[in-house]
Every structure is written in structure tokens, then in C-alpha cells.
Amino acid sequence: MDAPKTGEFAHIGKSVVIKGELSGSEDLYVDGSVEGKIELRNHSLTVGPNGNVKADVSAKAVVVQGKLEGAVTASDRVDLRKSAVVNGDVTTQRIAIEEGAFLRGKVDIQKDGKAAGSASS
């Protein structure tokens, strides 16, 4: 995969297990296990191919290549790659789903920054 290319980002490797609330002001790449809550108001979250996230996620953009279970709120976009397995409701302005991605849950498209309002709250 591709980890975020621009700027700095925090990286959680595939052997790392975190339980709790994660928040930050930079992009986050998760290839390990996270259970709890992730909040990255104006930044992006990438769940790598080995990533296993069981958390409600709130971010500007969310890219999923691994597993994500929880509510996803993205003020800008959600990108499900072909290896993504997502169980949970997705609220965003835009969504892209590659052939092969698995989604079980609701997709609610909210234009005009309404998703941003709920992401930042």
C-alpha cells in the first residue's frame, strides 16, 4: 500500500495493539490493531492491508485496505480499496468503492459539510 505521501504521518505498525482513544493533528496510518475511538479532525486515516480497527472513526478522509468495524464519519471522503472489509455505518460527502471491497452498513452522503459538522463535534 500506499501510506500517505504528503506531509508527516504517524504510523502504527502491524505488530502494535492499541486499546483506547486516539486523537491527533496529523495523518495516521494504521497497520496494526486499534480498538476504541479514533479522532483526526482535519486529517486522514489510512487502514493498511494488515490493519484491524474496531473503533468509531472521525476524520477528514478515511482510506481502508484492511478491516474496519465501527461508525465512520469523514468530512471529505471515504475510500474503500478492493481488500477492504468494513462493518459499520459510513457518513461522508463522497465515497469511492473498488471492486472487491466489502461493506456491511449504511452509507449516508451528506453534502455541504454536514459530515464535517459531525466529524468535528
Binding site: E99, A101, L103, R104, K106, V107
Partner: protein, 230 residues
């Protein structure tokens, strides 16, 4: 005594049968009278809740959310093949735990959905799950809601290809062959689900007897489209 894997494999077409089936284009299109009626409902109201019970389809999500509606995706056929649903009955036969299947899937509030797209699910799902699934759908649909299901006619042979449906226009569907690997098998061993049964009209009417009305559309491709009103 048949193993769990033997019981799961009966839901997939054998490779020897696949060799006899002529090659088909990867995607076909068909006009759907049932989808046309659903599109009229979608165009007349806002913020409807749609439940798509086929494989995850970006096209379907785009079609419904682009019109201002909420889309729920739940691939029930894939879920029904979970080997953990298999239990032994009192005689040692492998059966599906239908109660657990219903409790694990279709977990929604009552009267939530305006539209349910069953596609060809009843034709390919284990028989013991079909009626409980339809009963659950009745409870999670709003009065007046529409349910669309496709049933093969007797003209369809046992090797009828299982398609998934992508909504591309108000009455146009793109059909794509469904293939997925049986549980525990690698993705290189993807197979197509096998047609489990052909419903007679009276059986379909009985299946949806709790619904307010039922309408049949017969098409040339050995498919009956059934549109029911909750």
C-alpha cells in the same frame, strides 16, 4: 456423515459442470420493470432508506445516494455460507442454525426501510433460511414499502449463473456473475453459487403472504420479477 465443508460445497457449482457451460460475457444488461417501479418511488420522495441485499456494489450505492437516499448494504448470501452457522441436529445431520442467522443479520429497527432489493437471494439461499429472512424483512419494512426479488422460472437449468445486479439507470441493470471462494478456501478457488430451487408461483405467493400485494413481471430471460408491497 457429511462434513460441514461437504454441506457448504453443495451451494457451489462443481468445476465439471462449469466446463460444460458456455463462456458468457462478464457483464450483461437487462431492463427491469420492477426496478422501474422502484425508481418512480425514489424520484417521488426524499431521504428514503434502501436495503440492498446483494454484494457490495459501488454502482448501487452511487445510484441511491446520488438521489438523496440512504443505502444499506448487506450481502446475505455470503453471510448464509458462514460455516459457524452449521450445527448438528438430534440425528447428527448438519443443519443451519436459522435462529442465529436471523439474530446475527438483518439487525435493524422495525419499519425502517422503504425499499428492499432481494435480487435473486431466495433462489440461491439455503431453504431453511428463506422464509425466516422474508419474515424478518416484513418487520423491518415500512408499510407501503417495496421489495423486489428475482425468481428463476422452470426454463432455467440447474447451472443457471448466479448474477449480482448493478443499477445503472432507472430501469437498467448490469449483471455480473457472482463468484466467491467457499469458506476456508483461497480466493483462487472462487466458484459460482448453485441454483437451489425453482419456486412455483403459488410458493412465491405463500412466501409473501403477509405482504399487502404482489405483482409479477415475466421476462424473456427465464426470470420472474416479483414486486411486493409491505
Amino acid at each position: 456423515m457429511a462434513s460441514v465443508s461437504d454441506n457448504v460445497m453443495k451451494f457451489f457449482r462443481s468445476s465439471s459442470n462449469q466446463a460444460a457451460v458456455p463462456a458468457v460475457p462478464q457483464k450483461l444488461t437487462r431492463r427491469s420493470s420492477g426496478m422501474a417501479e422502484i425508481s418512480r418511488l425514489l424520484n417521488s420522495q426524499e431521504s428514503l432508506c434502501v436495503l440492498d441485499m446483494g454484494a457490495t456494489s459501488a454502482s448501487n450505492i452511487r445510484f441511491f445516494t446520488g438521489r438523496g437516499h440512504k443505502n444499506y448494504s448487506e450481502d446475505l448470501l455470503r453471510s448464509s455460507l458462514d460455516p459457524e452457522l452449521r450445527v448438528r441436529d438430534s440425528e447428527g445431520n448438519s443443519v443451519i442454525d436459522s435462529q442465529r442467522f436471523i439474530s446475527d443479520n438483518l439487525v435493524y429497527e422495525n419499519a425502517q426501510f422503504d425499499v428492499v432489493l432481494c435480487w435473486n437471494l431466495p433462489d440461491y439461499m439455503e431453504e431453511s433460511l428463506v422464509k425466516p429472512t422474508i419474515d424478518r424483512l416484513w418487520s423491518v419494512m415500512k408499510p407501503g414499502g417495496l421489495l423486489l426479488a428475482f425468481f428463476h422460472t422452470r426454463d432455467a437449468g440447474p447451472d443457471s449463473i448466479c448474477y449480482r445486479y448493478h443499477v445503472t439507470d432507472s430501469e437498467l441493470l448490469e449483471m455480473q456473475e457472482v463468484k466467491f471462494a467457499p469458506p476456508g478456501r483461497p480466493s483462487s478457488e472462487k466458484q459460482s453459487p448453485r441454483l437451489q430451487r425453482v419456486f412455483a408461483n403459488r410458493h412465491i405467493e405463500n412466501l409473501f403472504r403477509d405482504f399487502a400485494s404482489i405483482k409479477f413481471f415475466l421476462a424473456r430471460d427465464a426470470i420472474r420479477e416479483v414486486l411486493v408491497v409491505r
